[in-house]
Each structure stands twice: as structure tokens, then as C-alpha cells.
């Protein structure tokens, strides 16, 4: 059996090597870069916590954080209830629900840039069906990409529309594990559908709801693909979430020190989410 002692490590070696070089090392590099002065991509030297001081001293940074929280909060508020409702509906025992589950999963497998194009064509003030219909109904005109509130709403709805399907899958998987006998017993006791939901379905799917919450948080905070394609952070900077700020700093304005510093803040938030997730996996969700 002694040959098995080395075998697992050999089999895992490629995985470990790839992750060490291109995942762990970049995290360390990001931390180091956040303490350096890097004008035009050239490292000049260490500057202590100057990058953090500059960032935290900006009003723009607080707005970035605020918009990130709005983006996240709005996303959770729309995607989670929608995912739960969809999960209950596709779990009902009718013929045909499988087709609906397939349809519901479509947004999730589509490229963010493609769904952004669809949303833009749908919300265009001149030829979009949504603004035109709203104008007919209310008499006011709605310009989704020049009004800051409507722009924020647009990136939130787009993101929630994209992420609810996977949350639905997790919640539906939770619903499928609930023993049928519980519902039969409740029916004998005279419980209606609402009672069954509040006393059986909801409490027993709480672990999956927590997992869904952690996942959507972990995906939404670093998301810049949707906002960049939809609004580019505008109008002004009214939809510039933290991840988009990082993206623009790094790849459009080439302010690498600022980008790395924002990156470290995102990594710290990410690690906090990871800790919460591990806590749930290790029985917090039981």
C-alpha cells in the first residue's frame, strides 16, 4: 500500500500548481501592490498605506460602496423571492413543470454582454417597448439611461434576472428533500397551503436559502460585466459600483495602485463571505 502515500499528491499536483501560481500568488501580489506607488504600470516603491488613505479620502469611494450596497440589496430583494417562488412552482407535481424549469434557467447560461444588449434594446427611450408602454400608461417619459435612479434599477433588475435561476435550482433541490409524509400529516391536521408553507417548506429550506444568499452576495459584489456593458457606470458615476470602479481604474485609466487597493478591499469582503459560507456548511444551516 505504500505506493498510495504519494499517489494522491501526484494526482493533485497539477491542480495545486495552477491554483498556487494563478490564484494564491495573485492574492499576495494584490496585497503588495496596494502598498506600492505604480504610476503608468511601473512600480516606483513602497508608500505604506497612502493608497488606502487616498481611496478612503475620496467621496467617490463612499459612493462606490453605497452603490455596491444598493446593487447587492436590490439584487437580493428581487432575485431571492423570485427564485423561491419559481422553486415552489417548478416543484409542483404537474406534467410540464420540467419545461418551465428549463425556460427559467435560460438567463443564467447567457453571456452578460448579450443580455445587456437585449435589455438596452428593450429600454431604449426611442424604440424600447418598456419606456414606450410606460409613457402610454402614465403620460410621463422614462429615460432609463440618463436618470440615475432608473439606471441603478436597470442594472439591478438585469442582474437579478440573470442570477435568480441558479438560486431557484438550489432552493428546489432543498424542497425535493422534504419528506412527503410531513405534508400528509399536516393535511390530516387540517393545515392549509399557507400553514404548510410557513411550518414545513420554509423552515426546512432555510439552509438552501442561506446558501443562495451567500452565493448571490459573492457573485454580485465583484460583478462588473453587467454594469459595464449596460451603463458603463453612468449617467455620471451613478451606477459605478466598487467592482466597476476597479475595472475602470485598472484597464481604462491604468491607475494600478488604486485598482489593487480596491481589489484588496474586495478580497477582504470575499474572505468574510467565505467564512460565513463555511460556517453555514459546517452545520450552522442545520
Amino acid at each position: 500500500m505504500h505506493k498510495h502515500k504519494l499517489l494522491p499528491y501526484l494526482l493533485l499536483l497539477p491542480t495545486i500548481a495552477v491554483l498556487a501560481i494563478f490564484l494564491i500568488a495573485p492574492i499576495v501580489s494584490a496585497f503588495i501592490m496596494s502598498f506600492q506607488d505604480i504610476p503608468f504600470g511601473e512600480v516606483i516603491g513602497f508608500v505604506g498605506i497612502k493608497n488606502y488613505r487616498v481611496l478612503v479620502g475620496q467621496e467617490r469611494f463612499y459612493k462606490n460602496v453605497l452603490y455596491t450596497l444598493e446593487y447587492l440589496g436590490g439584487n437580493i430583494a428581487i432575485a431571492l423571492p423570485l427564485a423561491y417562488l419559481a422553486a415552489i412552482l417548478v416543484s409542483s407535481k404537474f406534467r410540464g413543470t420540467v419545461i418551465f424549469r428549463t425556460i427559467y434557467l435560460l438567463p443564467w447560461i447567457m453571456a452578460p454582454v448579450v443580455t445587456a444588449v437585449m435589455f438596452k434594446s428593450m429600454l431604449d427611450p426611442a424604440c424600447g417597448p418598456i419606456p414606450v408602454l410606460l409613457e402610454k400608461l402614465t403620460g410621463n417619459s422614462y429615460s432609463f439611461f440618463t436618470n440615475p435612479t432608473l439606471s441603478m434599477l436597470t442594472i439591478i433588475v438585469h442582474s437579478a434576472w440573470r442570477s435568480f435561476p441558479i438560486l431557484m435550482l438550489f432552493i428546489a433541490a432543498g424542497i425535493a428533500t422534504i419528506p412527503k409524509e410531513l405534508y400528509e400529516a399536516a393535511a390530516i391536521d387540517g393545515a392549509g397551503p399557507w400553514k404548510k408553507f410557513t411550518n414545513i417548506t420554509f423552515p426546512l429550506t432555510l439552509p438552501q436559502v442561506f446558501i443562495a444568499l451567500v452565493l448571490i452576495t459573492a457573485w454580485t459584489i465583484p460583478d462588473c460585466e453587467g454594469p459595464f456593458a449596460l451603463t458603463g457606470g453612468g449617467p455620471g458615476r451613478s451606477t459605478e459600483v466598487l467592482a466597476l470602479r476597479l475595472f475602470k481604474d485598472a484597464f481604462i485609466n491604468y491607475n494600478l495602485a488604486s485598482a489593487a487597493t480596491t481589489g484588496v478591499i474586495l478580497i477582504i469582503i470575499g474572505i468574510a463571505i467565505v467564512v460565513a459560507y463555511l460556517h453555514i456548511l459546517r452545520g450552522g444551516g442545520k
Binding site: 498510495h4 494522491p8 499528491y9 493533485l12 497539477p14 494563478f22 500568488a25 492574492i27 501580489s29 494584490a30 501592490m33 423570485l82 417562488l85 419559481a86 412552482l89 404537474f94 418551465f100 428549463t102 427559467y104 438567463p107 447560461i109 447567457m110 453571456a111 452578460p112 454582454v113 448579450v114 444588449v117 437585449m118 438596452k120 434594446s121 428593450m122 431604449d124 426611442a126 424604440c127 435550482l169 428546489a172 433541490a173 432543498g174 425535493a176 397551503p193 439552509p207 446558501i211 451567500v214 459573492a218 459584489i221 465583484p222 462588473c224 460585466e225 456593458a229 485598472a250 484597464f251 494600478l256 485598482a259 489593487a260 484588496v264 478580497i267 467565505v274 459560507y277 456548511l281 444551516g285
Partner: protein, 265 residues
């Protein structure tokens, strides 16, 4: 039909409309004029043929290379790793849980150092860089999922083969591989779709038009051609074809593969 049945169908249809409306509108627009039409069925215009003149076929080729190569390499690395974690016992195995949490880290934050690495390696502005970064962000999930598929294979099958004189490699190829084919399908498809859809990594790691991938092209069209929704939606619809075909063919396996971890958790 009971009131409950009616309500269920009503809900199912409403959500289907919410999901499908943007997609159908995009499809409609891809056959319509550049802009300025709100009719449900606009006057027909072929927006697809002009895309070839804009070099779309070479961008599609780049995207196919990135998605396919990423999926194949991910599988080649994840299979042995998944076998070790799913079947073998060894000190340090508990660190495998890190594979569940790595996908929660923000890729956006790691791109700045990754770009400097790729510049130093001489890989910046090549498809290799895009493939490597796609691989990195897909690998943890792939290894973890395959390991949970492999651990669900009854150990007795392998023990019986070992008694019959099968080598470890023989057991892997003759017993394990056929039994995890579902896991392999799930992973290949997931990685292919993720890599096909992503523009963030390509945007960060490439500059030249000749290594451009399809989603980045659509993004570039958005800036270049303003509100040519006809052309944009046509390019978007072409980008949807591979993921949708893969998904429709394999979705049953995919759904069970994706949620295997959620129920255990």
C-alpha cells in the same frame, strides 16, 4: 382544476414571460431595422450577413478555441485531482474544502496582478492568457464537483477489480471513468459555457483585434456602432447558439450535477 392548480399555472406562466420577453425581443430586433421601431413585427432586415464583413467569423473561432481548450484542460487537470479527493485518503485532505470557497473570491480583484504576471510570462495579448485565466477560475469548482461524483461510486466495484488484479490506473480508466461520465459532461459543459460567455478576462488580458473573443466584439460594437440594435442583437443571438444547444441537450444531467452539493450542505 382546483384553485391551487390554476394559481400554479398562472405563476409559472408569469415567470416564463418575465424570463422570455427580453430574449424574444432580442430575437425580434435581430431581424429588424437599426433603430426606431416599436412594432411587434418590424420590417424585415438581414442583420446577420453584414456581421461577416465585420470579421465576426474569426472572433467566433477565437471564442470556440478559448472555450474548448479551457474545457479540455480543466477536465484533464480536474479528473485526477477529483479522484484523489473523492476516493483516496491522505493527510491534508481536509484542505479540499478550499475548493468550495475559492469560487467565492472576486476574480475582478485578481486581474490586476494576473495581467502583470502574463506580461512577465510573455503571454499578454494572446489566447493562452485568456485560456489560463478561464482555467484558474473554473478549476476549483470542477475538481470539487468531480470529487463528489467519484465519491458516490460504490467502493466495492473498485475493490473487486483490485482483487481481480487490476492496477490503479486500470481501475481508473476501466471502472471510474465510465461511471463518472455524467460528471464529466456536466463539467465540460459548465466550463465551456462560462468561458464562452466571459468578456472580463479577455478585456483585461488582450488588446489586438486578432485575438478578440465574441463577447468582447459585441462590447466593442456597442461603442462603435452606437444604437445599431439590429446588428447588436444579431451578434448576440449568434453568441447564444452554442450555450443554448449544449444546455438543452444536457440540461437534465446538468441540473443534478450542479445541485449535488447543495443538498449535502
Amino acid at each position: 382544476m382546483s384553485a391551487k392548480t390554476v394559481a400554479t399555472w398562472f405563476g409559472l406562466i408569469i415567470i416564463a414571460v418575465i424570463v422570455l420577453f427580453p430574449i424574444i425581443w432580442g430575437l425580434r430586433t435581430s431581424f429588424g431595422p437599426k433603430s426606431g421601431s416599436v412594432e411587434l413585427i418590424p420590417p424585415f432586415k438581414d442583420n446577420y450577413s453584414p456581421l461577416i464583413g465585420r470579421g465576426l467569423s474569426s472572433y467566433i473561432k477565437n471564442s470556440l478555441i478559448v472555450a474548448l481548450v479551457t474545457a479540455i484542460i480543466t477536465l484533464c487537470i480536474a479528473l485526477p485531482g477529483g479522484y484523489a479527493l473523492g476516493r483516496l485518503d491522505f493527510p491534508g485532505k481536509k484542505f479540499g474544502i478550499l475548493l468550495v470557497v475559492f469560487p467565492l473570491l472576486p476574480p475582478t480583484a485578481l486581474l490586476v496582478p494576473l495581467v502583470t504576471y502574463m506580461v512577465k510570462l510573455g503571454l499578454y495579448d494572446t489566447l493562452y492568457a485568456v485560456i489560463i485565466v478561464n482555467l484558474v477560475f473554473n478549476l476549483p469548482f470542477a475538481v470539487w464537483t468531480l470529487s463528489s461524483f467519484i465519491s458516490s461510486i460504490p467502493k466495492e466495484l473498485e475493490e473487486a477489480a483490485a482483487i481481480d488484479g487490476c492496477t490503479t490506473a486500470g481501475i481508473f480508466f476501466k471502472i471510474v471513468l465510465p461511471l463518472v461520465s455524467l460528471g464529466i459532461i456536466t463539467i465540460t459543459m459548465f466550463v465551456f459555457i462560462t468561458a464562452w460567455n466571459n468578456y472580463l478576462y479577455a478585456y483585461a488580458l488582450t488588446q489586438s483585434p486578432d485575438v478578440r473573443v465574441l463577447p468582447m466584439t459585441i462590447l466593442a460594437f456597442m461603442g462603435q456602432y452606437g444604437i445599431d440594435y439590429g446588428g447588436l442583437c444579431a451578434a448576440g443571438m449568434l453568441a447564444l447558439i452554442p450555450p443554448i444547444i449544449l444546455f438543452l441537450v444536457l440540461q437534465k444531467h446538468f441540473v443534478s450535477g450542479m445541485t449535488a452539493g447543495a443538498v449535502k450542505g
